[in-house]
């Protein structure tokens, strides 16, 4: 075999595995829900560590020549990447029935096992390659890193051109190419080459005619609306950031929070979906009678105090708010939307402005709002957002999603973009008990304190409909006339005024609640920082303001609320459950359990050969660097998402840069003495701890810069540390396991399991304590590794 053949094969197999992971998450997110996708793929990744266990168990019984294992596992990886999606498609799992149908758990277990297979085989290929070439572990491991980085980029990039089910052809094709590199034309290798060629041909065929179709859970919005009378799909668009579909049906209507008193006509609408979830509607405005509806939406409250000539609409693609601004005589409307496809589908519907009102200048911008407000010099009479907290968000499924739009830092910048007399309007769906809107109020008041307006006591006005709360923020303070105007407007629509500066007591007339929580929250927030903190501390849910370091405005169930809910009667906690959070906990529990069992297996089966006491530093070292890598990666993705402005770009850039740079570091490490591992891990402790303190500030500094500069800054921040992060594994192998295949397998298993367990654990840490703490946790883990390395060398000495 040529010297480069094995690293190339490793790179291709790793690329296939990572592309498979990305595509699987995309497909499960469309077919099921995001949290389910995360859980299933997260647990299946345990296959990585399992290969170490398998290798160790077999090695304990007989001698293994790693080379044929490498060739076979590479070929089988290609076969598994092709066949497993088809088999998984045959298993009908309905996660909504897991609560009461034990059979669903069995099916889920089958899915786990099936999905773990290609990851396990791919990892076995890398492990056997390392075992086959113990003198250059850095090169092999580096090839795996670089391949993974390229696979991540390809897995995301292919979604620009192919739907996810067609894109599934990519991973087996990559692995098949890897298999071809590993085998020779000599007789024993011919069959493997034949199989690899077969997989390659089948992959190409699968890209042309997909072997499986999307099987979307019938409870999701897309199948539901598709079942509407005369429904027809009018548009479809695929990209890495989502699968966008438009469905037209005369029966579909979308008017969040529409007044109970509205008796007028209803316009024709087209439903818009992202990943089969409702993302809003495109609305046709044939005449002014249909557009009259707009003034009966809760989001129209800011127009009650007078014309808003310049309006910034955030998340405009799925909302009615651009039309609302035009209908309320705005002269200029800037419409921001992250999904370009939603702009394409929405913009034409408001182009017929004659039916809506006067001809306004509308500027559609595809991009993130944080980036835009950091860069623009424009100011607005109204900035409007919402409604937030509804739909799937209401089900707590987005509780894990970073959202840099509803943080204190974001509100400070939004308030800064208002003209004199300008208003920031944030509408959110109500929940029982209130959560989203309480956090909005506490967050916006904290933002107001930072910009320190003269009349903070008069800066808030809160209205509530039967289903939504609209928080109006005017830093200059609301006048008595404005309060009267909004009150009159609200009363006519059966909306309540929950708070205004002159309100002496709660005043809910139309939409009754058991307790005046919003009044109490607003009152506490405006009184002082201390009283706001006291309110948040005593509220059953976590409603503390979100920040850029902990950007989870839809996460309310902290540990305190969780323990209280779980202590309640059977089923009572279910409506409050944040399914993303529950899935994260479930992933962690399952991962810890399965990883524990699979790590213990070889130990029980005969670890005496190695000596458990001597294994402790090895397991500690490789486990620590596995956790540290994942923690640093997740923290970096979170903070650089804010810098790069788009989660998909951030994931692509960070994963690719991190993995490729780590691969280079890993390959370079072959030229360094193994003893350097102590210094490298020590240096990482210092760098990551420093990142925890300063990186977010640097991100804020670069936010107004052009994308190219921000991207370059991200690479400068990431690449050097990633090069270092690629070194500890191969250096450690040479320190701990230079002449023992057993120990290589142990190192692999410990690192693999720690990496997989670290993913949900790091996500939980970020959720509860923020990305800064996560960087520090990564630094602490490298410290553990440094100590383990030092102890191992001391033992050797």
């Amino acid at each position: 075999m040529l010297p480069l053949a094995r690293p190339l094969a490793v790179a291709l197999v790793s690329a296939g595995s990572l592309a498979f992971e990305i595509l699987l998450i995309r497909i499960f997110a469309i077919e099921q829900f995001y949290h389910f996708a995360y859980m299933v793929v997260g647990v299946a990744m345990l296959g990585f560590g399992a290969s170490g266990t398998v290798f160790t168990l077999i090695r304990q019984r007989r001698f293994i020549d790693p080379s044929p294992w490498f060739a076979t596992s590479t070929t089988l990886t290609a076969v598994a990447l092709l066949g497993v999606p088809l088999l998984v498609g045959q298993v009908d799992v309905d996660p909504t029935r897991l609560a009461w149908d034990p059979g669903q758990w069995l099916r889920l277990a089958v899915v786990y096992l099936l999905l773990a297979l290609p990851f396990g085989l791919g990892a076995l290929a890398v492990l056997s390659a390392i075992a086959a070439e113990p003198d250059r572990p850095g090169t092999i491991y580096g090839a795996s890193f670089v391949g993974s980085g390229v696979g991540a980029a390809l897995g995301i990039a292919i979604l620009w051109t192919l739907e996810p089910v067609r894109a599934l052809a990519l991973p087996p094709a990559l692995a098949a190419l890897g298999a071809v590199c590993t085998t020779s034309w000599a007789k024993p290798g011919r069959m493997k080459i034949g199989i690899a060629a077969g997989v390659l041909v089948a992959s190409i065929a699968g890209a042309i005619h997909p072997f499986r179709q999307l099987s979307i859970l019938p409870y999701k919005a897309l199948p539901q609306v598709s079942a509407f009378p005369d429904a027809r799909r009018t548009a479809e668009h695929t990209s890495p950031s989502g699968w966008v579909v438009a469905v037209e049906s005369p029966a579909f209507r979308h008017a969040p929070g529409l007044s109970l008193a509205y008796r007028g006509a209803f316009p024709q609408q087209t439903a818009l979906f992202v990943d089969a979830e409702l993302a809003g509607a495109s609305t046709r405005w044939p005449d002014s009678s249909a557009s009259a509806m707009l003034d009966w939406l809760p989001t129209s409250a800011p127009y009650a105090i007078g014309d808003r000539r310049s309006v910034l609409v955030i998340d405009a693609g799925g909302s009615l708010e651009v039309a609302n601004a035009v209908a309320h005589r705005a002269v200029r409307v800037v419409a921001l939307e992250l999904q370009p496809a939603l702009i394409d589908l929405t913009a034409p519907s408001v182009s017929d402005q004659g039916a809506l009102g006067t001809g306004a200048e509308i500027e559609w911008i595809s991009g993130d709002a944080r980036g835009y407000i950091s860069r623009t010099d424009d100011r607005f009479d109204l900035i409007t957002m919402g409604p937030i907290g509804g739909g799937v968000v209401g089900a707590g499924m987005r509780s894990l999603s970073e959202d840099f739009l509803h943080t204190v830092d974001a509100y400070v910048r939004l308030l800064d973009r208002l003209n004199d007399g300008g208003v920031l309007a944030i509408t959110g769906w109500t929940a029982v008990p209130p959560r989203t809107n309480l956090r909005v109020i506490l967050t916006v008041v904290e933002a107001l304190r930072r910009i320190a307006p003269k009349r903070i006591d008069r800066a808030l006005l809160v209205t509530r409909s039967w289903g939504t709360v609209t928080t109006l923020v005017k830093p200059e303070g609301f006048t008595a006339e404005e309060i009267a105007a909004v009150s009159g407007w609200a009363t006519a629509r059966l909306f309540d005024i929950e708070w205004h500066p002159d309100l002496a007591a709660p005043l809910a007339r139309f939409n009754l609640t058991d307790e005046p929580t919003i009044y109490e929250a607003t009152s506490a927030a405006l009184s002082s920082r201390d009283s706001a903190a006291r309110f948040a501390a005593t509220y059953p849910f976590d409603v503390r303001p979100a920040t850029d370091a902990r950007p989870y405005p839809q996460h309310f169930v902290g540990t305190r609320a969780l323990s209280r809910l779980l202590g309640s009667s059977r089923g009572d906690w279910l409506p409050f459950a944040e399914w993303g959070f529950v899935a994260l906990l479930a992933t962690l529990a399952q991962s810890v359990l399965l990883a524990g069992i699979m790590l213990l297996l070889p130990a029980i089966a005969g670890a005496g050969r190695v000596g458990m006491r001597r294994l402790a530093p090895l397991v500690g070292y490789f486990g620590a660097i596995g956790f540290a890598y994942m923690a640093a990666e997740i923290a970096a993705i979170q903070q650089l998402t804010l810098l790069l402005g788009h989660p998909v770009y951030a994931v692509a850039a960070v994963l690719t840069a991190l993995l490729v740079a780590s691969g280079m570091g890993s390959a370079w490490s072959d030229r360094l003495p193994a003893a350097l591992a102590f210094r490298v891990t020590g240096l990482l402790v210092l760098i990551l701890a420093t990142y925890g303190v300063v990186l977010l500030g640097v991100v804020h500094l670069f936010q107004p810069a052009p994308l190219a500069l921000r991207f370059a800054a991200a690479m400068v921040m990431l690449a050097p540390v990633a090069v270092l992060m690629g070194m500890p594994f191969p250096l450690g192998l040479r320190t701990f396991a230079s002449e023992s295949t057993d120990r290589v397998a142990w190192a692999w298993a410990a690192n693999g399991f720690a990496s997989v367990v670290a993913a949900p654990l790091a996500a939980l840490t970020a959720l509860e304590y923020g990305s800064r703490v996560l960087f520090v946790a990564a630094a602490a883990a490298y410290l553990v590794a440094a100590v383990a390395h030092w102890r191992a060398r001391a033992q050797t000495a």
Partner: protein, 240 residues
């Protein structure tokens, strides 16, 4: 602040069901009776106190309203899937919504979203006249047949779009909507008699909704009150 009383996330109500139930040996048997009693006991323990509602829940044979393959689970306190992504809701939610309406015999009730007709049967068992609307023609038809076969004679089923209510039979003492709406249809409020009560899941159509009680006082003034969070299938508009 009070955390809402007994709740359910997966509470969904049927808009679909109504396939023929083959192999019926008879409408009821001791096993189903025991399970039904256990179900009612559980509902009572979770806070439904109205004896008439509990008696109605005890009287209606829920296993006749679910798909054959789910019959043995018919009396579990959870929703069950039926066809086309629709579900029959959790018994507790059926009882809770029924109790909230404060019905008395001979009242007139409008139900939007017939589905398997289980909710309509429970309402009828309270001695009220039920006018139930179903958007899917085959479902409306099978519900009509099922109700007739089981002897629920005070239910009138109509294939129509529930968003416009049933003006010919209005006003109603109570309105119950058993499918999620993105907003509260004005026609349903109009058709509610002064002093009447309407219970409807509203909010975002496809996520968690809030079960809302709409009341109209003697002068016709309308107020709303959030009850509990639920999850319903969407209410379809337009005929199918």
């Amino acid at each position: 602040m009070r955390l809402a009383r007994s709740l359910t996330f997966l509470a969904t109500l049927a808009m679909v069901a109504a396939v023929p139930l083959p192999g019926q040996a008879g409408p009821d048997n001791p096993t189903f009776r025991d399970r039904r009693q256990a179900m009612v006991d559980l509902i009572a323990s979770r806070g439904v106190r109205d004896s008439a509602t509990l008696a109605a829940m005890r009287a209606v044979l829920r296993h006749e309203f679910v798909l054959t393959e789910h019959r043995r689970r018919a009396y579990g306190d959870h929703p069950l899937p039926i066809e086309h992504g629709q579900t029959i809701s959790q018994p507790y939610i059926v009882a809770y919504m029924t109790e909230i309406l404060r019905l008395r015999p001979d009242m007139k009730v409008l139900e939007v979203g017939t589905g398997s007709a289980y909710q309509a049967a429970v309402l009828a068992a309270l001695g009220v006249d039920v006018y139930t609307m179903e958007i899917f023609a085959p479902l409306a038809e099978s519900a009509r047949r099922r109700l007739a076969r089981l002897g629920h004679r005070r239910v009138t089923v109509r294939h129509a779009d529930g968003h416009f209510g049933w003006p010919d039979e209005a006003p109603f003492d109570a309105v119950i909507v058993t499918a999620a709406a993105g907003y509260i249809p004005p026609a349903l409020i109009d058709q509610l008699r002064p002093g009447g009560r309407m219970v409807i899941p509203v909010g975002s159509v496809y996520g968690v909704q809030n079960l809302i009680l709409v009341t109209k006082d003697a002068q016709g003034a309308v107020t709303t009150r959030h009850l509990i969070p639920v999850r319903f299938v969407p209410m379809l508009e337009g005929l199918r």
